[in-house]
Amino acid sequence: MTISQDDIKKIAHLARINISSEESILLEEKLTGIMKLIDQMQKVDTDGVEPMSHALDISQPLRADQVTESDIRTKTMALAPETEESLFIVPQVIE
């Protein structure tokens, strides 16, 4: 599988990353190299093999819905690039 300039444009859009045209040219070779490495998988017969999504077969634990943590809103809001009162400020999205 080779990665084309069009592919890069498409995935960069999905990933929400601006890629300059110079970067894109460099990426084409590097990403194609990585995809060639990944394509080694295709020679393996995996018919009937169950996909493994987790290292150990465990079920998701449940816990009681109780407040266990103290309120750190002031601390976390202070980390945001721009806030007003208790809101995160972003460029206007609705006219």
């Binding site: 990944i38 169950e50 290292a55 150990l56």
Partner: protein, 484 residues
């Protein structure tokens, strides 16, 4: 104080041979002296460390101390530590001050340890040479022209140069074991789920696992006693009963069956490294172990599978860096989309972008079955290989890395060559198995590590096997000449 083990430090603090404040200042002085050349630490906060040490001294004076009270530990900058800058090696988090403690950090605080500082690392733990850090490359104390390995390269350089008695690391594909091998000390990646991932900045969530990095297996056992805990804040944390990892260290290893996978000794392995590894395994034979030849037939697929699964999970995990709630935001933008695109263009480095793009590609519409699902199926085959191998042997041994440390810059522009650094370590992350690297010798003045892989939850046995080797060797006690 320089070369005392964690056990000795604990004992001498208790006997008041020195105070925690003296000990902490001793290591802070070393950091001040050597960090300019090694770049092992991103953040030092002397006032906070000393304040913690003074508290520890009060505890010791009142006779209330635990095993870690007063011992300084360096934390990889992937762990959130309340009030500490926590960057994950990225411009994206350059000014991020963690608002809470990771469970690993909390466990060390509860045990009375001193946070000595936050260590450098590859950006978002993506790298094998610690050259992708936004805060600059880390140097190997054995030779400053060489890399320390990665991604836990700052912790590795700090432990090897004795800028810290011990440090924490994380291992997604080899990021504890490969730097431990390249810098000449002991590192352990535990069973997936043994150590909580809460507050540990996510890279590939089904593979990430934290572990100890320290000179000896005994030090690592003492650290794992603190680090391992069942945590309801991490839904993948396992309710494994608490163990004392120091207890089995002195058990006899007579009759131990060591599996040597033929795939770990083939093409791509440096011949000097091979000699050292075979020599170390021969030492085990002298100690009463027997050698069994085994096969892990799918191991060559571990790298392709990893470079689907890890980037896929990373592309999802790193979508949170959008410049809205925390982290870097671009200075000028037209609208919300433009803000996202520029923030992520400017905030992430090249390797992180490559992995996000690969991850996005393999998860994108039409490709899921061919890549992600296929990778998960082969992951199962790799895991099955280990299950079969452990019917024939108790532990698997081989090299931790295909070569000793390489020169800075040598592989920086060649991601594929860099990825091969993890060829012997990645498969254990995919299978969720515990594994260690222990010092086994030197080639051209650079350390070489022996890898030990065990079955799930065999950390106690692995540490026992490593400790018995270290009772009969002093590779783990060697220190670099450039650092006095």
């Amino acid at each position: 104080m320089l070369n005392l083990s964690l056990k000795q430090l604990s004992q001498q603090l208790r006997e008041k041979a020195f105070s925690s404040e003296e000990l902490t200042r001793f290591f802070l002085d070393r950091i001040r002296k050597y960090n300019d050349s090694l770049n092992a630490f991103i953040t030092i906060d002397e006032d906070t460390s000393i304040a913690m040490a003074k508290q520890a001294d009060l505890k010791i004076a009142s006779g209330n101390q635990g095993t870690f009270t007063g011992i300084p530990i360096a934390q990889k900058d992937i762990f959130c530590a309340d009030g500490w800058k926590t960057t994950c090696g990225s411009k994206m988090l350059e000014n991020f001050v963690a608002p809470y403690n990771a469970t690993v950090v909390q466990n060390f605080n509860d045990a009375g340890a001193i946070n000595l500082g936050k260590t450098n690392m590859d950006e978002f733990a993506m790298g094998s040479s610690n050259e992708t850090s936004y805060f600059g490359a880390v140097k190997n104390p054995w030779n400053l022209e060489y890399v320390p390995g990665g991604s836990s390269g700052g912790s590795a350089s700090a432990v090897a140069a004795r800028l810290a008695p011990a440090a924490t690391g994380t291992d997604t594909g080899g990021s504890i074991r490969q730097p431990a091998s390249l810098c000449g000390f002991t590192g352990l990646k535990p069973t997936y789920g043994l150590v909580s991932r809460y507050g540990m900045i996510a890279f590939a969530s089904s593979l990430d696992q934290a572990g100890p990095m320290a000179p000896s297996a005994e030090d690592c056992a003492m650290m794992l006693n603190v680090m391992a805990s069942h945590d309801i804040k991490d839904s993948t944390s396992l309710p494994h009963p608490k163990e004392d990892y120091l207890a089995p260290l002195d058990n006899s290893i007579k009759g131990l069956r060591i599996g040597m996978p033929k795939e770990f000794f083939g093409e791509g392995l440096d011949s000097e490294v091979q000699k050292i590894i075979e020599g170390a395994i021969n030492e085990y034979k002298k100690m009463g172990a027997e050698i069994v030849e085994i096969s892990l037939p799918n191991s060559e697929l571990a790298i392709p599978v990893y470079y689907v699964i890890a980037p896929a999970e990373a592309s999802s995990n790193l979508s949170r860096y959008d410049g809205v709630r925390y982290g870097y935001r671009t200075k000028e933008y037209d609208d919300l989309m433009d803000m996202y695109f520029k923030t992520r263009q400017e905030g992430f480095g090249d390797e992180v972008k490559r992995r996000i793009l690969i991850g996005t590609y393999v998860l994108s519409a039409g490709y899921y079955d061919a890549y992600y699902l296929k990778a998960q199926k082969i992951r199962q085959l790799i895991s099955n290989d280990f299950s079969q191998a452990f019917q024939k042997c108790d532990v698997i041994m081989g090299p931790s890395a295909p070569s000793a440390a390489f020169k800075s810059g040598e592989k920086k522009e060649d991601p594929l060559a860099m990825y091969l650094q993890d060829i012997y370590t990645i498969s254990t992350n995919l299978a969720g198995l515990p594994a260690m690297s222990i010092p086994a010798g030197f080639t051209k003045g650079l350390p070489v590590g022996l890898q030990l892989i065990g079955n799930h939850f065999s950390e106690g046995h692995l540490l026992n096997i490593a400790h018995q080797f270290q009772l009969n060797s002093d590779w783990h006690r060697k220190t670099p000449k450039e650092i006095d």
